[in-house]
Point group: C2
Chain length 216, copies 2
């Protein structure tokens, strides 16, 4: 195999991934057919099964493409925050900011990219990919531990639910931020995600330190 073959193979593969993430962001995992995808990518219908094995595996590739780097960056940022003696606010920011870093790696608009991310973390019908579970467990374990250190007197179950609540705040903003904008006829403004990260961190930080908590 020569370099040109690899380049061409990767081109087709990447075209499929790009088309899939665009269509999935717009319509959801369950509403997109292989023909939609191959038409969008300008490749033959058989190409998906040749390059990915099945539609399901293509979907796993789409999910892992960004979610795994997001979880890696979450781990890196958390380490940095803890090394610098950061508190709960910084921990929560480390949890939410990586989506903002990752958007620059995609060809999609910010709005569509966040929609895709929301679908990846919320549409558990379309197979929560096995390939992302270990990293996800590691990441959530590290954050749980960090928050448990910050709130030594908070019962673990309460802490886990508050982390889950924070996850819900973020996921709903990613997935349905556009719905709020349409539903309020723009009265909520059209904040960029940087603004939303700050607002979400403020909101969840206050929720974490609420009665029962023991903030550092």
């Amino acid at each position: 195999m020569v370099a040109g073959d690899t380049a061409k193979r990767n081109l087709t593969k990447v075209r499929i991934l790009d088309a899939t993430e665009q269509l999935v962001a717009e319509q959801g995992f369950d509403s997109v057919s292989l023909r939609d995808i191959t038409n969008g990518a300008g490749v033959n219908v058989a190409a998906v099964n040749y390059h990915f094995g099945s539609k399901e595996k293509l979907y796993e590739a789409v999910q892992c493409r960004y979610i795994n780097p997001v979880n890696e960056e979450r781990l890196e940022l958390l380490e940095k925050v803890l090394a610098e003696g950061g508190g709960v606010r910084e921990i929560l920011e480390a949890f939410m900011r990586p989506f903002l870093t990752m958007v620059t790696r995609s060809k999609m608009s910010e709005q569509l990219f966040f929609k895709l991310m929301g679908r990846c973390i919320m549409d558990h019908n379309a197979s929560l990919s096995e390939e992302m579970i270990p990293l996800f467990r590691q990441m959530s374990g590290a954050y749980t531990k960090a928050l448990a250190s910050a709130f030594p007197e908070m019962p673990v179950d309460l802490l886990l639910w508050r982390l889950h609540f924070s996850f819900g705040v973020m996921a709903n903003t990613l997935l349905h931020g556009d719905v709020l904008i349409k539903f309020t006829d723009g009265a909520c403004g059209e904040p960029d995600f940087e603004t939303n990260v700050q607002r979400m961190v403020d909101f969840c930080y206050a929720g974490f330190v609420a009665e029962g908590g023991d903030p550092r």
Copy 2:
């Protein structure tokens, strides 16, 4: 038409609704076929189209069956809270508690019922039914107004986003509460929804009164 006919027609219709909500709660709107439904209900395949017109309209009926009463009860509770001079905490509780009232009207287990509710408010692929939009707008308008009175100095856009965050907390708990339980191997406990409502109210109340807010 005699009473018996009506009873029998309603029986079939209700059997279809019951089977559909059970299957949708378990598998999601996009993963259930008409044959799954009619098998589950013990009725003929043609019955769905006879009684509901189409699969889509059946889904709208399933969504409206509980979501409309939930939104009505939210409005009633809010009126009562405001009449009694309740504050932000009580307003948030009025927003979240109706799911707990409604679960008793269903044949499903609590866990499955909340899963169904989560799907109804989060799966916007499967058609956000036109029939529930007016009530939904009225309800969210009333809550926005009540919260705006409680936080007269908070910019409206921030207030709307904090309400959206609260919605995310609740929706994620309804839809993915079971995921947290499995994912943490039970370390989060298995709290009943009453406990979760209190925790969500605590969390969101603190989020609302965080810096920038002006609590009553």
